[in-house]
């Protein structure tokens, strides 16, 4: 007697199974109610009558390996039971998601090909939490992704569609950042932190380098004499209009910054670029500072500058012998910075 005959005779005693073939060619059977939880399998069974026997096994998409299939079915087995409370399901899901990133990706892939939307949602959210707050470098490392974008593509994710107001905005941003940097360089008391916040180091690096990694490698004298940087291809943003007296301070900082960020290589300046992509970038017109900017843009711009100041504050790495004391800045309407002390210092 074939299996299907037996199923007809004793339906209550025989559990129905669905036959499945995984990407490696092996065939297995799974309880019907568990397998039918997956829309893709369900569709195959109902529309095409597949999966009823070993010869008629449903062949699963390539992305579903046996290991992943077993995980998917663990999930299905739990959730297809109708009597569970929402809390139970949530607790199970949290536990279920505890696996390494590689498996999470594979599981997302498998769940997606099986069209099991709740599991895709769950894994996507878990992966989103991993991605949040990471630099592009870090994301590449975690997920073993190829670094296959050209320099130009990395630096200009948002194509320049708006013109003048944003150029001015950009100019103002850099003028202000420069001013802050100057003030910073003058002050001796800076907070020293245990570990370097890579982000602000990048930010600083990129600011110093004018977002062109080639500048890092040029000699200091070139940097000192560089008043304006011509930008070809409309690529990078920002120029470091460093005046001579400031450049010395900046270079000593640059050295320490370089040391701590040596591993970052050529794309180290990208992170802050991405942070600033937040404010769309445009072609840079040298020396053009226009104060007639929409106040909303100004506001956003100044917020960014304050952000930068805050980051400088919290993770500046210098040689020993510095006082540990945070410095509070405030920016008044015409862009000058003012040091606040005592109770008037704004908690940032």
């Amino acid at each position: 007697m074939s299996e299907s005959d037996m199923a007809i005779i004793k339906p209550e005693m025989m559990k129905s199974y669905i036959w499945l073939e995984t990407s490696d060619g092996s065939i297995q059977q799974v309880e019907q109610e568990v397998a039918m939880f997956c829309p893709m399998i369900c569709h195959q069974v109902l529309q095409k009558g597949a999966g009823s026997s070993k010869n008629n096994a449903i062949s699963l998409p390539q992305k579903v390996s046996p290991a992943m299939l077993s995980l998917v079915f663990d999930y299905c087995r739990f959730h297809q039971v109708p009597g569970r409370s929402n809390k139970e399901r949530k607790v199970y899901d949290e536990k279920f998601m505890r696996m390494d990133t590689k498996r999470l990706c594979e599981l997302t892939s498998a769940a997606d090909s099986l069209q099991l939307k709740p599991l895709v949602d769950l894994t996507s959210r878990a992966l989103a939490r991993i991605i949040e707050g990471k630099t592009p470098e870090e994301i590449r490392e975690i997920f073993h992704l190829p670094d296959d974008l050209t320099e130009e593509e990395k630096l200009e994710p948002l194509k320049n569609t708006m013109d003048d107001p944003r150029i001015r905005l950009l100019n103002r941003l850099y003028a202000k950042k420069r001013k802050e940097l100057k003030e910073r360089a003058k002050l001796k008391s800076i907070e020293v932190e245990e570990h370097v916040d890579e982000r602000s180091v990048d930010d600083l690096l990129s600011f110093i380098n004018g977002r062109d990694h080639k500048v890092v490698k040029t000699s200091k004298s070139k940097k000192k004499n560089k008043k304006k940087e011509e930008h070809k291809n409309g690529r990078s943003n920002g120029t470091c209009k460093v005046s001579n007296k400031d450049s010395r301070n900046l270079h000593s900082k640059q050295r320490s910054v370089d040391e701590t960020s040596s591993s970052l290589g050529s794309v180290s300046n990208l992170l802050s670029m991405e942070d600033d992509i937040f404010s769309p970038k445009a072609e840079f017109e040298d020396g053009y500072i226009d104060d007639e900017i929409d106040p909303a843009l100004k506001e956003m711009l100044d917020r960014e500058v304050e952000d930068f100041a805050r980051r400088l504050n919290s993770s500046w790495v210098l040689s020993s012998g510095q006082e540990r004391q945070p410095v509070h800045f405030s920016i008044n309407g015409n862009g000058a910075t003012r040091r606040l002390t005592g109770p008037a210092a704004r908690q940032k």
Binding site: L145, L158, D275, F278, P295
Partner: protein
């Protein structure tokens, strides 16, 4: 991760923040393609736009639209209401023009003048000449705002050459329109920055050169209806007030 289809990556990115998505576009080619996709940026744009909203022309993608709304507030409702997005979340922000506010004695040229300034987004601003009864009230329909967000309302203002009468704190209140008057608890806010007095909210200097003082906060839940009323008042002291220039009342999310 290489094997994930682009729409999966897009789905993952939709659950992060605009900032993270921008960063993602520098990771790799497939990430960039997903990060720049309309699917992701649609997720950060509001699902409902205020009445009279029209997307600016010439913006090729949703990402461009998002940033355009963040950086260039749009004027709606006869140019009396400015609309923009808060960049880290995509929540809606508004600023009401002085002409949209109810300024007691505002129509009387002896007390208030209507002027134009180059650094404002509205055509006309209210400049106080002299008044005893200072009362500025604004109302906004709560359905215009983003769900599940904590908002704060700020009076945005400036001083002219010789302000007078504002050294003492004034009353600010924010409540749901229709609340019984006895139930409304005003708070005291100081418009001038007196480092000494720690009483209540103080005015802060904004990055655009204007000052702002918080009038109150409220939380908008999904399905909330009605109007939020906010006001600034000084009617109890028997001397005149002079020299205040009102830019408007801004309503924006409170950032953590």
């Amino acid at each position: 991760m290489n094997n994930l289809p682009e729409d999966c990556i897009a789905k993952i990115l939709s659950s992060t923040t605009p900032r993270d998505v921008c960063r993602s576009s520098a990771v790799s080619r497939c990430f960039k393609s997903a990060a720049d996709s309309d699917h992701v940026w649609n997720h950060f744009l509001p699902c409902e736009f205020p009445e009279g909203f029209r997307a600016p022309e010439g913006l090729p993608t949703k990402k461009h639209l998002f940033f355009s709304l963040v950086h260039c507030p749009l004027l709606l409702h006869d140019s009396l209401l400015s609309f923009s997005l808060e960049r880290s979340t995509g929540n809606k922000c508004y600023m009401m023009a002085p002409r949209d506010l109810n300024i007691t004695w505002g129509h009387d040229q002896r007390y208030w003048q209507w002027i134009s300034l180059p650094d404002s987004r509205f055509k006309e601003l209210a400049a106080l000449k002299m008044v005893w009864w200072l009362e500025i009230t604004g109302k906004i329909n709560i359905t215009l705002l983003s769900d599940d967000t904590l908002y704060a309302a700020y009076l945005v203002f400036k001083w002219n050459l010789d302000p007078y009468g504002f050294r003492q704190p004034v009353e600010a209140s924010l409540f749901l329109a229709g609340t019984e008057h006895d139930l409304v608890q005003p708070s005291m806010v100081s418009l001038m920055q007196n480092p000494g007095s720690e009483q209540g909210q103080r005015a802060e200097l904004r990055s655009d050169g204007w000052y702002e003082v918080e009038l109150g906060q409220f939380f908008k839940r999904r399905g909330d209806m009605g109007e939020i009323e906010m006001s600034l008042k000084e009617t109890k002291r028997p001397f005149e007030k002079k020299g205040l220039i009102v830019h408007g009342i801004e309503i924006r999310p409170v950032l953590p």
